[in-house]
């Protein structure tokens, strides 16, 4: 029995924020879930995957090929009356945004929850976009937990809100709420889970041709008014303390503020508005708060999502108060916050003294050697990179080649001594960007993509590249798993977790099926042979695909031998 299916109601478990979301979804009776993995969201999908694989709980889960597909799977399940969930990292929401924007119009029948896990400071990401913007962009309600306990509670409530409004609800976490453990009190598991529903046809709702979409946009705006009412009364939004100095915070910033108020011993001097249901903005609550304070510090990572709204409301109310935060220079729009940063801002707000901890003089510290993350010892990707390098060297092209790369462990090919990663935008961009380089330059283009990324968004780009007669060599680093995010399956995998028996799509078949003629397979550990094949392929001036097949060594240790 999976630990997140524990029946010990009332007991505390030390859960990750991501695990708490899973527990909340299980308690709420979610029966269909789909996702594409991505840090810091991956543990949500991993736990749902193993719960469904173990088979003793009525949950359908799939790793879809990308976030867009996953959101479509969850959306249609919810349209058919089955509670559903999808989760992704912040940039995954970009991939799914085409679904999101119109899903807001057509809505759902049963509750649907969309989890976006943002990554301020880019611990494991290529940008630090603030996905709260998506909530406003699409007009969807949003909850932001500040602790694992709240993550569970909010997930359950999100299903209820979603069902009452017939709109999906967004739960937005950040790395520091997804990857923090805290006590979570287990609630009861549902007696019955609705695993199958029935889709009721309604062409004036589910098919947003222009005439229907015009109606549904109006419906969405009406629902948003109701959602605002729910935000006003939500127990996730609360005011503590009193006085004319205010603080507003949401998400992990709530934690920093609470600790700062305790450590500075100023709880009784501040009116603190803690927001958890942040969109639609609880306008009445904010106005009431603004009416009572002379100065307010807004503590939120990344964009001034709350700060700007508070300024707008001040203007509406004709209230001339100081709104401090990003624009006052107290906080940056970049990176994540830390407790000291917030403590300093709060002591500045109140004009209280703040004693810095006494540290020994560290000025004589030498520069410390870095520990950049690197490919594991024995990783097959390293062999492939070396073989390509050798082949190009022997062809006299090592110095002129350009290496578009993609997202996965192999992005670490950026670092010395490999240094074979020159251009990257997003998942799947190796293929599209190679197309552009091949028409805009005469340089040799060798690009790299992993097996999971290939299915995520490389396949359609490769169709485009072949059709448009682009000339480059695409190396598919097929290690039979989605390694970087913790070994999730994808359609191409040969080595499987026990019990996983879904049909396989060999990448070779997919590529040949597109009509590409120059397709080769190599075993990168057979060095001579691999170099020879690369030399052969790279001496021709046409689109080629080389599939370097060798399992991730960590994954092989886990599940090797099971085919």
């Amino acid at each position: 029995m999976h630990p997140l299916l524990s029946k010990e109601t009332g007991q505390n478990r030390l859960l990750l924020g991501n695990e708490a979301i899973v527990r909340g979804a299980i308690e709420a009776g979610a029966a269909v879930a789909a996702a594409y993995p991505g840090t810091p969201s991956s543990e949500i999908a991993n736990n749902l995957f193993f719960i469904s694989l173990e088979g003793d709980w009525p949950l359908y889960f799939e790793f879809s090929t990308n976030e867009k597909v996953a959101m479509e799977v969850a959306a249609s399940a919810a349209a058919a009356g089955v509670r559903s969930l999808t989760c992704m990292k912040h940039v995954g929401m970009n991939v799914a945004s085409d679904v999101l924007m119109t899903l807001a119009y057509v809505g759902v029948k049963a509750g649907m929850v969309i989890v976006t896990a943002d990554d301020p400071y880019m611990h494991s990401s290529q940008n630090e976009q603030d996905n709260r913007a998506y909530s406003r962009f699409a007009g969807l309600p949003m909850l932001e937990p500040s602790s694992p306990g709240e993550a569970r509670d909010m997930t359950i409530r999100a299903f209820e809100i979603s069902e009452s409004l017939e709109l999906p609800v967004i739960i937005r976490t950040t790395t520091r709420t997804s990857h923090v453990r805290g006590p979570v009190k287990l609630g009861p598991l549902p007696e019955e889970v609705k695993r199958k529903g029935r889709f009721e046809k309604d062409m004036r709702r589910w098919v947003p041709v222009p005439a229907v979409a015009r109606i549904r946009h109006k419906v969405l705006l009406e629902k948003d008014e109701k959602a605002q009412g729910l935000a006003e009364d939500s127990p996730f939004n609360s005011v503590k303390g009193h006085g004319t100095v205010g603080i507003v915070a949401s998400g992990v910033s709530v934690c920093y503020v609470e600790d700062a108020l305790s450590e500075l011993d100023v709880k009784d001097r501040v009116r603190f508005l803690k927001l958890g249901f942040t969109f639609p903005y609880p306008v009445a609550l904010l106005k009431d708060f603004i009416g009572k304070v002379e100065r307010v510090l807004v503590v939120e990572e990344l964009e001034p999502f709350l700060e700007d709204e508070i300024k707008i409301l001040c203007k509406d109310m004709g209230r001339d108060i100081q709104v401090l935060g990003k624009s006052s220079g107290h906080f940056s729009r970049m990176y994540e916050f830390d407790p000291l940063m917030v403590k300093k801002a709060v002591s500045d707000l109140l004009g209280t003294a703040f004693v810095e901890p006494e540290m020994p003089d560290l000025s004589s510290l030498p520069p410390l050697p870095m520990r950049p993350p690197s490919l594991c010892k024995g990783c097959p990707h390293r062999e492939t990179y070396n073989a390509v390098k050798k082949a190009l060297r022997e062809l006299g092209e090592e110095d002129v080649a350009v290496y578009p790369t993609d997202i996965g462990c192999y992005t670490l090919g950026l670092l010395p001594p490999i240094q074979m990663a020159d251009y990257l935008l997003c998942m799947g961009s190796s293929v599209g960007s190679s197309s552009g380089f091949s028409v805009a330059t005469d340089q040799r283009i060798v690009s790299f993509i992993g097996d999971s990324t290939f299915f995520h968004s490389g396949l359609s780009s490769l169709a485009s590249a072949f059709h448009n007669e682009h000339k480059f060599c695409l190396v598919v680093l097929d290690n039979s798993t989605t390694a970087m995010t913790g070994h999730q399956p994808n359609p191409g995998i040969e080595i499987r977790p026990p019990g996983y028996d879904r049909p396989r799509i060999p990448i070779e078949n997919a590529v040949k099926g597109l009509g590409i003629r120059n397709v080769r397979k190599v075993n990168p550990y057979k060095k001579k042979e691999t170099v020879a094949i690369f030399k052969d392929v790279l001496s021709r001036d046409e689109l080629s695909v080389v599939i370097a097949e060798a399992p991730c060594i960590l994954y092989y240790k886990k599940f090797g031998g099971r085919k």
């Binding site: 520091r176 923090v180 453990r181 992990v252 000291l340 901890p357 520990r371 690197s374």
Partner: protein, 196 residues
């Protein structure tokens, strides 16, 4: 109780996350409010791995400059790197066995003089316990138990409201059965190596 901010630092693969998790579980079992933060994803591929355990009602998951009450470091270079999070008042538990970073192997950087820096740390911080955790783990029967050795040292300092008994219960409940005995040995060896 007073609040307590414990920073765990090490290199990917050393079991820092398990150590902080065991600490958090033991604290929760003892009825304390606790937060544990972890690093996942790209940062784990052989890089520096940090986690924190925050006790006594603290909500923040991370530790700022100079604010750690205790540092538990699995590797001496990482101890030095984490000093910016320590104040004179910090208690420091450190392993003395280096793990050479790739940048040093490639000749791009120099590994600091461990003895010199341990001496610096001992003379500048409130309480410092430097042990050869790798050797103790080996004596306990599993080289992998470096993390539990260091947990033993941490508990052995007697500064936390978690007793050795509570931690042993947690190890019994959370570690895979076949590794329990070796880990309990490692924990005991850690406790008895406290001489600071």
């Amino acid at each position: 109780m007073d609040t307590m901010k414990i920073l765990f630092s090490g290199v990917g693969g050393q079991g820092t996350l398990l150590a902080s998790r065991l600490m958090g579980e033991a604290a929760m079992a003892a009825g304390m409010d606790v937060r544990v933060s972890e690093v996942h994803g790209m940062a784990q591929r052989g890089g520096v791995v940090e986690s924190t355990v925050m006790l006594g009602g603290l909500k923040s998951p991370i530790i700022s400059t100079g604010e750690a009450d205790m540092l538990v470091s699995f590797e001496p270079l990482e101890t030095i790197r984490a000093l910016n999070r320590c104040s004179r008042n910090t208690s420091i538990v450190t392993n003395i066995r280096p793990i050479t970073p790739i940048t040093v192997k490639l000749g791009q950087a120099e590994y600091p003089d461990v003895d010199q820096w341990i001496a610096f740390i001992k003379s500048n911080y409130r309480r410092v316990c430097a042990v050869d955790a790798d050797e103790l783990a080996r004596q306990a029967g599993t080289a992998k138990a470096v993390n539990v050795v260091l947990l033993g040292v941490l508990i052995g300092l007697g500064e936390l409201p978690v007793t050795a008994q509570m931690m042993k219960e947690t190890i019994r409940g959370k570690v895979k059965p076949k590794f329990v005995d070796a880990n309990l040995n490692a924990f005991e060896l850690g406790i008895s190596s406290v001489s600071c």
